[in-house]
Structures are given as structure tokens and as C-alpha cells.
Symmetry: C2
Subunit: 370 residues, 2 copies
């Protein structure tokens, strides 16, 4: 029998959870000590629906860390090799956080709410304590706390049609990774054009958890004419789209260059940041391995529990970090950390999936979405 999930107060309830349950979420994971559904009907059925229609996701587990005060920008800059000096109010920036070795602490989206006020919209690691620790240790004049903010996301090609009737702003004027503030059904929300899929849509940062169900219901009602369903980040879709998952595809043990996130590193960044010395050195010396997109032949594979070994020229050359059967490409789409000499597009590899007796042919690809 497949194991069940146990809930408790420690695995925090989200403001939308009653609706997620009512819509029949079949499986959950825990993310930032909060629930996150992983599929409703099946990963494949959810995938097709997300690509063709529109879904409402409870992603409250993308917790916010608010940084506010005179030293707010200084603290945020200190935590990332990305240059935030040009980040304007109303703008989102993907800014991986690195420690003093260049290891990835988290890969959040940073929202600038005011000159001296940011939300760090985090992946699954203890950024609240990390930034608090740095700020206290340094004696910075800044508050670091978790505000009452819970995201729901509207994702899929129908997202704009569902959201437009609920807001006054003309959504066609809202660019990618920009946000504005408004109210929906009395609920104060920050709405960004963003989200963890390649199908387009919005993230709604609800600022009053007591209004979670009212917000959910208002969106749902607007979506009924557009075949809205409850959904969640979809493993197949996010791999095809090339979205990395912190904890799966990268950890504190990986530096930002290994993860192919070079374009978010400003080597000559003016503001002080923790990882400067380490990243300067790694940029000079190069990396031994790199995250690659790989396409694995054969039919549906078992779910990846931890990692699968990757082979090149008869020797282990890395490991798969995420994998899913793609019903569209009819192969297993995957990320793998692979020795640098085997990461060129077209390189032939093989992969031993858990529970299988023989390795499957695989190759490095540029991507699946074009």
C-alpha cells in the first residue's frame, strides 16, 4: 500500500486547504513546513489540463521573508550574487542566494515593495533564520520576519481571461515579473505575472489569511466558464519548461555555476555580497560538473526517490536529480548533474532507473520547449 501523509500543526495549514481537499488532492508533499499538493487526478491528466486550460494552485508554501528597514537593500544584496541595484519598486527578480562558499541557500524571487522593503519568495529552506542570523550577526538596522502572506497561483493559457474580470488594471499592460496591488472579494492582494510553470499566469500574494477562501471562491467562480480546476506545480511540465527545484536539482552542496545559473551572477557587482570571493575563484577555475537536461529513452519509469546513476563511456558520470515520463515527448524528461566533459548537447549517456535491471539510453538535450 502506498504510504499516507500525516498532518499536524507543525505541517502548517494553508488558508486555501479546505478547497484543495474538497477538490480531491490525491497526494501531498511538505514544503517549508507547509502542505503542497502534488497531483489531483494523475500527474499526466493534470499536465494536459494545465497546458490547455487554467488551474488554481495553493502555493502558500512559497513563504515570504519580509526584509524592511534602512539596511534592507544592504542585507538582500549581501545574500545574493545577483545585482539588485536596478531593481525597481513593483518588480520581481529571480535571485539565487549563495553562502560564503558559493553554495545555493535558496533560489527565491525577490519583490521590491518599497525602497526599504522586500519580500523574498522562497523555495524550501530556512531563509528566514538565515537572513535573521546574518542581520543580527552584522548588527544591521533591519527587520526580518514572515508576514501573513499566502500565495495562490493562476496558471495556464486561460489565466488572463479568468483574472481580468476580477481586477480593474488592464492585465495586458502587466509585464512578466511585474506586480501591482489590489483587492479581490475584499482580500488585499499583490498580483504578479509570474508562476512556476511555462504556461503563463499570475501569482496572487494574499495579505490576509482570513480571506483565503473568499479569494479562492471568487477566482473559482470567474474560472468556471473556462474549465478551471484545482492544480499544483506539475513535475512533468516544470521539467519540460526547464524550471529547477531547490532540494531536488540543486542543494547547498552545489554552487550556482554548477546549476547553470551563471546569468544571475554579476561578478563585478558593486554591493558587498557573501559569495564574492568563492564565486570569483570558481569562475576562474571552472566547474567539474554541471546540471544538464537529458532525455531518457523507453517507457514510463518508476518515480525517482533519490537519484539515479548516469553513465558515460561505461563509467558513472553523474546522477539524475528529477525525472518524469512525458506523455507528449514519449520519453523520460530529466535533469542530471553530469561531469562537465559529458554535458554538450547531443552527448550520449545511459541511466539506470531504480528497480530496473538494465540502463536506458539517454542524451543531453538543449530543452524540450521551443
Amino acid at each position: 500500500m502506498a504510504p499516507l501523509i500525516s498532518f499536524s500543526r507543525r505541517v502548517r495549514e494553508t488558508p486555501y486547504e479546505a478547497r484543495v481537499m474538497a477538490q480531491g488532492a490525491r497526494a501531498f508533499t511538505v514544503y517549508n513546513q507547509m502542505t503542497l499538493a502534488t497531483f489531483f487526478r494523475s500527474p499526466e491528466e493534470d499536465y494536459w489540463h494545465l497546458r490547455e486550460h487554467v488551474q488554481l494552485w495553493d502555493v502558500a508554501c512559497e513563504r515570504q521573508v519580509e526584509v524592511r528597514g534602512p539596511d534592507a537593500l544592504r542585507l538582500v544584496e549581501l545574500s545574493t550574487p545577483r545585482d539588485l541595484s536596478a531593481c525597481r519598486i513593483g518588480q520581481c527578480v529571480y535571485a539565487p542566494l549563495c553562502d560564503e562558499t558559493g553554495g545555493i541557500v535558496n533560489d527565491p524571487v525577490v519583490l521590491r515593495l518599497a525602497e526599504d522593503r522586500f519580500w523574498i519568495s522562497i523555495a524550501d529552506s530556512g531563509v528566514l533564520l538565515w537572513l535573521k542570523g546574518l542581520a543580527i550577526g552584522r548588527g544591521l538596522d533591519v527587520e526580518v520576519f514572515e508576514p501573513d502572506v499566502n500565495i495562490c497561483a493562476l496558471q495556464g493559457p486561460g489565466a488572463e481571461r479568468v483574472l481580468q474580470p476580477l481586477v480593474e488594471t488592464d492585465l495586458r499592460t502587466l509585464r512578466f515579473f511585474r506586480f501591482f496591488e489590489t483587492r479581490i472579494a475584499g482580500a488585499p492582494v499583490v498580483i504578479a505575472r509570474s508562476g512556476w510553470s511555462g504556461q503563463g499566469g499570475f501569482e496572487l500574494y494574499l495579505q490576509d489569511s482570513s480571506r483565503g477562501l473568499a479569494l479562492w471562491d471568487a477566482i473559482w467562480e470567474s474560472g468556471e466558464a473556462h474549465q478551471i480546476r484545482a492544480g499544483c506545480p506539475n513535475l512533468i511540465e516544470r521539467i519540460e519548461t526547464g524550471l529547477l527545484s531547490y532540494g531536488n536539482d540543486m542543494t547547498l552542496a552545489n554552487n550556482i555555476f554548477e546549476c547553470g545559473l551563471d546569468r544571475f551572477v554579476k561578478l563585478g557587482k558593486e554591493a558587498e555580497h557573501l559569495s564574492r570571493r568563492a564565486l570569483d575563484r570558481i569562475a576562474r577555475e571552472g566547474v567539474a560538473a554541471k546540471l544538464a537536461k537529458i532525455d531518457i529513452e523507453g517507457g514510463p519509469a518508476p518515480a525517482l526517490r533519490a537519484t539515479w546513476p548516469v553513465f558515460a563511456a561505461g563509467r558513472q558520470a553523474g546522477y539524475v536529480t528529477s525525472a518524469a515520463w512525458s506523455p507528449r515527448f514519449e520519453s523520460v524528461v530529466a535533469f542530471a548533474m553530469v561531469d562537465i566533459e559529458h554535458t554538450q548537447v547531443g552527448t550520449r549517456l545511459s541511466v539506470l532507473a531504480e528497480g530496473e535491471s538494465g540502463a536506458r539510453p539517454a542524451r543531453v538535450v538543449a530543452g524540450w520547449e521551443r
Copy 2:
């Protein structure tokens, strides 16, 4: 249908997981980004077996944060209001970590391995990043990292009989919260007389994850004559024993006095620590609410998802943080955060459990175990 748990690399596999699965764990939670079983047969059946025999628990999710170097003691002292100056090598100390407001960051057991080397054996929060942040911010001369250490625990009245044949040390000489180093089946382990139950036993800190199954199997073999079973921390037993769970019974929003952990605060502690000013003030002013043990009448209650309201004299006076039906006391044993004026032993309260239409009578108790 009860929801399933989804695994992925992000929810880290433990070195013992294959055996936990083979033994039929029915449900899991996620703790420190790692799996933790919550029951095998049923919470009640597991409970009776734990009290009467012996269980082997995979508690690798109690991650270790190693603090090592010239400033190691200084950093650990900085993080807790407990006085560690008398902590000797070979000793474990329960030392709640507090932030600058007195809020509880975590409630770990600290092991002193050498003058300048500690393991912080943590509950479910990002202590690694917290201590790294503090150390980097302060410029302390210390390394902070997660070592390759994975705990399995042997708990229950039969624990000593199972472990003794596997070690040379006479276990009768090992006092509570003391540890020694040895090898079992080639696996290097630190063994402490400790564990998250009131039934006695040991925690084995495995220092080489590749030997997890060898260690498990050696203990299992020794346990077969003693009716050993795979188990896990048991909700009923831990409440009856009075063991608090971080994230359930206390969070960063609670200060250490509210949680009744006064005896772990040394107000005049000599070493510098973050929470001194806040805790001095709270000690002077007192707290408005306090965690209480309460006994709730009536039959088995639904599982507690988040909190249940507690009433006194017709008004809400707090909330339940953990609750379980006790088959031994035939009542619901619980912790609740209750307004201070209603926390005296014997005080009559009432509790509205989720999904129930009427409140149940309850009262504050000194405890259940004597």
C-alpha cells in the same frame, strides 16, 4: 480517500528507509526535509508495543548541525539562554535556542564531542542556516555544517537487553544523557542514553550513512528474541510523557517561558547570548499565556489538523497544540496554550474539537505519567 505522501530527492531519503518501508510504515511526515514515519500498525497498537517491548526507530530526520573551531562554544552559548559552561565532553544537554526576542528557534539536544566541537541535534527548523548566518555575520572563527550523521533510536523497556550484546561498554554504567563512541557491525556510532519517549532507550548516531542497513540489521537480529518491531515517535506516548514538539507545541512566535521551559533559562548566564535582554524583560513582566497539559473528556477525537479552541468561563482562553486519544487513560491527552489565569492544575476548561458540534469538558492536569 486519505491523501498519499509524495517522495522526491528534496524530501531526503534516510539510510534506514528501505527497512522502514519493508516493515510496512503506513504513514509519513516530513521533518527537516527528510522522511519520518508516523505509524506502522496503528498509533494505538504501536503505543502498546513501545510501552511493553522495544522498537527500532529511523529518526535520521533529527539532523545534526556540527559546530567546530576556536569559537564553537561561543557560538553555541550565543544561541541559547541555557548555561553550557559546565557541559562536559560525552554529555548531552537539552538547550532551547532563542532569538533576540526570546522566541524559540528550535529545541535541540547539544552533544559536546570535544572542547571545540558540538553536535546540535535539531528539531524541525533551519538551524544550520541560523548558526551559519550568526557566525558569518559575527565573523566567528568556526565551521558550521551538516555532518554525515543519521540517528536510529532503540526505545522501550527492552532496549538495554537488545543493545548490550552489540557493545563492550557495560550499559548499566551509561547515565541518562551521556554518550560514548563505538562500532556496531563495522558502523561507527555515538551511542547516547536518550530518545524521544518516556520508555527508556538509546539513540545511535551513525557516522557513515553507507552502513545504515548493516547497523539496522545487526540491531534487528539482536532484537528478534525480544519482540522488536520497527516504530517511530508515538503521538500518544510523547504527550503522556510530556515531551513538547517544536512546530506543534511551540514556534518562533512563542517565548521560552510561555512553553514552561523556565528551568533551561539561566538568567544571570555569564556567556553572551542573543536573548538576554528579551528574557530578562519577560522574566520581570511575566507571560500572558502558558503551555498546559490538559485532559479532554469523551471518546476518540478526530486528528488535530491545526489547533482547536479552548474555552474558560464561556470565552476563548487558548488553543490546543497537540492531542491524541489515550487508550490507557481513556481520554484525549493534549497540550494547549492557555491564558495564564486558567493554567492552574484542576482548572476546568472546554475544548471544541474540529468537526464536532459541542465542546468537550477538559481540565488542566499536572501530567499523566508518574
